[in-house]
């Protein structure tokens, strides 16, 4: 048990370190911007907005809450990300890790 915990600790430590590095070096922001731009480019954002309109019409304009939207939008949004965008982002993250973690 201890062994597993240690392993898990190691992992979480690694993860924490990585996250910290990402933020410190500004890579996280850059990745965020890159993703946003790519999603807008490929039309993902318009698609999602159209879906939002449906949800709003469903729930009623006055009563829609953030939670409603989040619940409706997030799973669909995750699924609708194009493969090319996903691949590119994964590649960049890996590159970062290879450079700063290994």
């Amino acid at each position: 048990m201890v062994f597993i915990n240690e392993k898990m600790n190691k992992e979480s430590r690694l993860k924490a370190t990585i996250n910290q590095r990402l933020t410190e070096l500004g890579e996280r922001e850059r990745l965020k911007e890159l993703l946003r731009a790519k999603l807008t480019e490929c039309g993902w954002k318009d698609q999602m907005k159209a879906h939002c309109k449906e949800v709003i019409r469903e729930k009623g304009l006055e009563h829609v809450t953030v939670e409603d939207l989040v619940v409706e939008i997030t799973p669909k949004g995750r699924a609708l990300v194009p493969d090319s965008v996903k691949k590119e982002l994964l590649q960049r993250i890996r590159a970062f890790l290879a450079q700063h973690a290994a």
């Binding site: 993703l35 953030v66 939008i73 997030t74 949004g77």
Partner: protein, 374 residues
């Protein structure tokens, strides 16, 4: 590159991959949340549905996504393939080239007369540059040729010569471009002729059939000549010249040749006038200071005498040209000569009446030059 193709050790590899995926998921979720907040704010602030209108307008301005049209549904370059028939030359011209073609075809654009002149000049030049060398020599002896600057034929074989040997003496040719200083009226279309005549002298030389390309106030020709040319070329309804009377009557010379027909069309049209002439009255200019003798011919051919006494290449191609049947113009020309010069300009006798203070040439000297030439 697939996610599994990572050059890392086994267990670490998957963990690293998992880490990468985690980070990726975080980023995507962040993006989604951002969108949710944006939309929610828009809804609550009331501008979320602003880009929507009534159904009808929505349908009308819907984005078009068909091949061959843009997103508005318009066809790109639909006039490209259309052809129009030119009313002038009856040819089929592409639509985008139609306007410039019409300009040239009708001779009415800004550049059309210029281009036509240049074209004819180069045609004449190339066709004549191989011919009679001696005649061209005479032309080249003339220094003062303003008009020739317009038609500098860069490829002419005579271009670089500045010294020529003629008649036993070296003659300086300061302006190598002064041959071919005229336009052949037969080669111009009616519209081109009209536009040409509105800006230039146009008096036709008898033996070269070329129109004088100097300005409307060219001192070699009188206004009567110009008017006669216009009447001849454009019909009786020819437009009136800008100035009705010549500034100064042209000079006329005593020519001991019985055939001195001062037909307007016989006037040499090569623009050879000394630079100093432009300031003073043109007609009576005797090429003051001109170092060249006047070339007058005593051939059987009609005389083309430069009234102004310039070194007109009057003897240009003396052997080739015949007198064209232009009786009307002849009369007019002579009349103008007489009127202008104040001399009794008869066909055979032209008296010298110069208004200039320095009469360089007198009859005797002229005849001597004659002899020289002959």
């Amino acid at each position: 590159m697939k996610m599994e193709d990572m050059p890392l050790s086994g267990p670490d590899n998957t963990k690293l991959e998992a880490l990468v995926n985690d980070i990726y998921s975080e980023l995507v979720e962040d993006a989604c949340l951002g969108l949710c907040f944006e939309v929610h704010r828009a809804v609550k602030q009331g501008y979320f549905f602003l880009d929507e209108t009534d159904q009808e307008s929505m349908k009308e301005f819907e984005i078009v996504d068909q091949p061959g049209v843009d997103i508005f549904g318009q066809v790109y370059n639909q006039w490209k393939n259309k052809e129009c028939e030119c009313p002038n030359c009856k040819r089929l011209i592409a639509a985008s080239r139609f306007a410039p073609h019409l300009e040239k075809c009708l001779g009415m654009g800004r550049n059309s007369s210029r281009i036509a002149n240049r074209r004819l000049a180069s045609n004449n030049n190339t066709s004549k540059s191989e011919s009679d060398q001696e005649d061209n020599d005479d032309l080249n002896d003339n220094d003062w040729s303003y008009g020739a600057e317009k038609r500098g034929d860069q490829n002419s074989p005579r271009r670089s010569k500045t010294l020529k040997h003629k008649n036993g003496k070296w003659v300086r040719n300061l302006h190598p471009y002064n041959y071919n200083a005229g336009i052949n009226y037969e080669m111009l279309g009616p519209d081109e002729v009209r536009s040409f005549l509105t800006t230039q002298c146009g008096v036709i030389s008898e033996h070269t059939k070329k129109m004088c390309t100097r300005s409307q106030r060219c001192p070699q020709h009188t206004d009567e000549q110009r008017m006669a040319v216009r009447v001849f070329l454009l019909g009786p309804s020819a437009p009136v010249l800008p100035e009705a009377d010549s500034v100064a009557g042209p000079e006329s010379f005593d020519i001991p040749d019985g055939q001195a027909l001062m037909s307007r069309l016989q006037w040499e049209d090569s623009p050879e006038i000394s630079p100093s002439d432009s300031a003073s009255s043109k007609a009576s200019e005797e090429t003051s200071g001109s170092p060249f003798p006047i070339k007058l011919r005593t051939d059987k051919e009609p005389i083309s005498v430069s009234l102004t006494g310039t070194n007109h290449s009057d003897s240009r191609r003396p052997k080739k040209k015949k007198r064209p049947p232009l009786g009307l113009n002849s009369g007019g020309g002579i009349g103008s000569l007489s009127g202008g010069g104040g001399s009794g300009g008869s066909q055979t006798n032209i008296s010298l009446s110069t208004k200039k203070k320095k009469p360089k040439l007198t009859a005797p000297s002229i005849s001597s030059i004659y002899d020289d030439l002959n």
